[in-house]
């Protein structure tokens, strides 16, 4: 079977869950090799091996952290040129998409973005995409060069397949463009004890109906009772009630949890684009004609300030 390069998404060596999903998908179409860029490879190798990485390519160079996208694209392209993999899988993060885009141009290879599934097919990896605000499913494959596929979080359930990876340090010759865009400062986002939006099994979101930053506690309390992540509509984010990193929708995060609870959200197409593929959808809205009710498995027409606290109380009672 051919080698499949998997670009590792990590924070200082802590491997993020989507990478484990990519390694799991990669085993369906070949033998996974992880590509680790930046600091902390030692800490990551064991985890990568546990999920089936046969090899770990490590590029530990300052450029990777100090400049935007291009050094990572340089590294991935250079490794791909010498390894001639059967495919390259990249996480569908902002960086991942752009790294994939540049490597595709450089290698003259086709690019498929935001796959929600990858399987082995007659003509190489077959992908499934969910498009047009998740109203269509598209099956596609790459026809030229090395298939480069960016994969959305939650595309697969991570499965262990323990291996002891060979670790190969790679020294990259960076292009002149690598140092073109300097990251002059970074500010870490506030850490929360709640699960990450893309990884959570349950998401509880609030919209304009929440009517104020101070009221979001009503949403948070239900989320905490269920062990859920907190989401928000763009209206709530634009109003400054909740941070943008929690926005669900076309220009925020696209989630696909087991359960999505929308409170005080009308259900605009751009919001639906980010939550329509959730397994079970529930809404609380005081307007019985709100379009969100067309999507729901269960809905309550009512005031969220009455329904949500009662829901929280009842959940805690039943636990």
């Amino acid at each position: 079977m051919g080698e499949i390069l998997v670009l590792v998404d990590h924070v200082d060596g802590a491997v993020r869950k989507p990478t484990l999903e990519l390694l799991t998908l990669a085993r369906r179409i070949g033998e996974p090799s992880a590509v680790f860029l930046g600091k902390g490879a030692d800490a990551a190798t064991e985890t990568l091996g546990r999920y089936g990485a046969q090899k770990v390519y490590v590029v530990d160079a300052a450029e990777v952290d100090d400049y935007l996208v291009v050094p990572k694209a340089d590294a991935l392209a250079q490794i791909a040129e010498s390894a001639s993999p059967a495919a390259i899988l990249v996480p569908s993060s902002a960086d991942g998409r752009e790294i994939g885009a540049r490597v595709a141009v450089r290698l003259g290879s086709g690019l498929i973005t935001d796959a929600v599934d990858v399987v082995a097919g007659e003509n190489g990896p077959e992908t499934e995409q969910s498009v047009f605000a998740a109203t269509y499913q598209v099956r596609a494959h790459v026809t030229k060069g090395t298939p480069i596929i960016t994969v959305k979080p939650n595309a697969a359930t991570p499965e262990e397949a323990p291996a002891t990876p060979a670790v190969e340090a790679v020294s990259v010759t960076f292009s002149a463009a690598a140092t073109g865009t300097k990251i002059v400062a970074t500010a870490a986002r506030e850490k929360s004890d709640r699960p990450e939006l893309t990884e959570a099994d349950i998401v509880v979101s609030g919209g304009r109906g929440v009517n104020g930053a101070e009221n979001f506690v009503v949403i948070e309390r239900v989320a905490d009772a269920l062990g859920a992540a907190v989401g928000a509509s763009r209206a709530a984010v634009d109003a400054g009630w909740y941070p943008h990193s929690h926005q669900v929708g076309q220009t925020g995060t696209q989630v696909s949890p087991q359960l999505y609870i929308a409170a005080g959200i009308s259900g605009a197409i751009q919001h639906r684009a980010g939550m329509q593929t959730s397994k079970t959808i529930v809404a609380v809205n005081k307007d019985e004609d709100a379009p969100i009710f067309d999507l729901v498995d269960y809905g309550v027409v009512g005031d969220l300030f009455k329904v949500m606290p009662q829901l929280e109380e009842e959940i805690n009672k039943r636990k």
């Binding site: 996208v69 073109g180 087991q258 959940i315 636990k319």
Partner: protein, 259 residues
């Protein structure tokens, strides 16, 4: 200096979008318009000029005949002129093909700054700015929530994957801006009238010295095998809260084993 703003003409996201049999986007049965996310790119280009940077703004679109409407709307918001690249052989181009056409057209127009939207509202890949920068060999400064240009340097703030980042690059550069950069202006009546007199240059593949077998559906680097409508979600039970709504909802969640 020269600013080129890339704008895409897309099927209306609020209508029922779909596909043709060959897997290309159905542009017949749905009205199209200027991609809403590109309005933010136009707005930022106009604000850069209003901030005191002396520049000429050119809009660029690659698309069918009626894509000119997107250019007219952009010109009505402000700016100086436009380029429309259209050719029967372009239909069905993928991201690799489209980025090649855009890069060639930008080179031909001349540029110091290229401004793009964060993603189109149809393909929504969010990759063209990076591809254009790669092909032009200039820095990319993408997904910006805030942007400013001063002394030949573009600076911005973006929400990176794990942290908020301040980034900068020297011009020439390609940038993309998000829907958090601030609402776009509406074209004024005066703007709409003025737009009618602004020049729109029509180019085809020959003008850009691109071979017709380099782009279009047949040259595509990837292919769609099937496109199927997802079954519409079936509406479940909706109850009206008469004092027990939260309890009823909890019972539903418990039955589904979420509690």
């Amino acid at each position: 200096m020269k600013i080129v703003v890339c704008v895409k003409y897309v099927p209306d996201a609020t209508a029922d979008r779909g596909f043709n049999e060959d897997g290309t986007t159905d542009r017949e049965s749905v009205d199209s318009l200027l991609s809403e996310l590109d309005e933010y790119a136009i707005e930022q280009a106009l604000q850069i000029v209003e901030s005191g940077v002396e520049a000429e703004i050119t809009y660029l679109t690659v698309g069918p005949d009626d894509a000119r409407e997107a250019l007219r709307k952009a010109l009505a918001m402000g700016g100086d002129k436009a380029i429309h690249v259209s050719d029967d052989d372009i239909q069905g181009s993928d991201a690799l093909g489209t980025s090649l056409i855009l890069a060639k057209a930008i080179e031909k127009a001349g540029f110091d700054l290229v401004v793009c939207g964060m993603a189109s509202t149809d393909g929504a890949m969010g990759v063209l700015p990076a591809m254009i920068a790669e092909r032009l060999g200039v820095p990319q400064v993408t997904y910006l929530d805030e942007v400013s240009v001063e002394g030949g340097v573009v600076k911005g703030r973006r929400e990176g994957d794990v942290a908020s980042e301040t980034v900068e690059a020297s011009l020439p550069a390609v940038i993309s801006v998000t829907d958090r950069t601030g609402e776009a202006r509406f074209p004024s009546f005066k703007g709409i009238m003025a737009a009618k007199k602004k020049p729109v240059e029509e180019l085809d593949l020959d003008d850009l010295e691109i071979d017709s077998d380099e782009v279009g559906l047949s040259a595509s680097w990837s292919t769609v095998d099937a496109a199927t409508a997802r079954p519409a979600r079936t509406k479940g039970e909706v109850v009206t809260d008469e004092g027990e709504g939260g309890v009823q909802l909890a019972a539903f969640l418990a039955a589904k084993k979420f509690i």
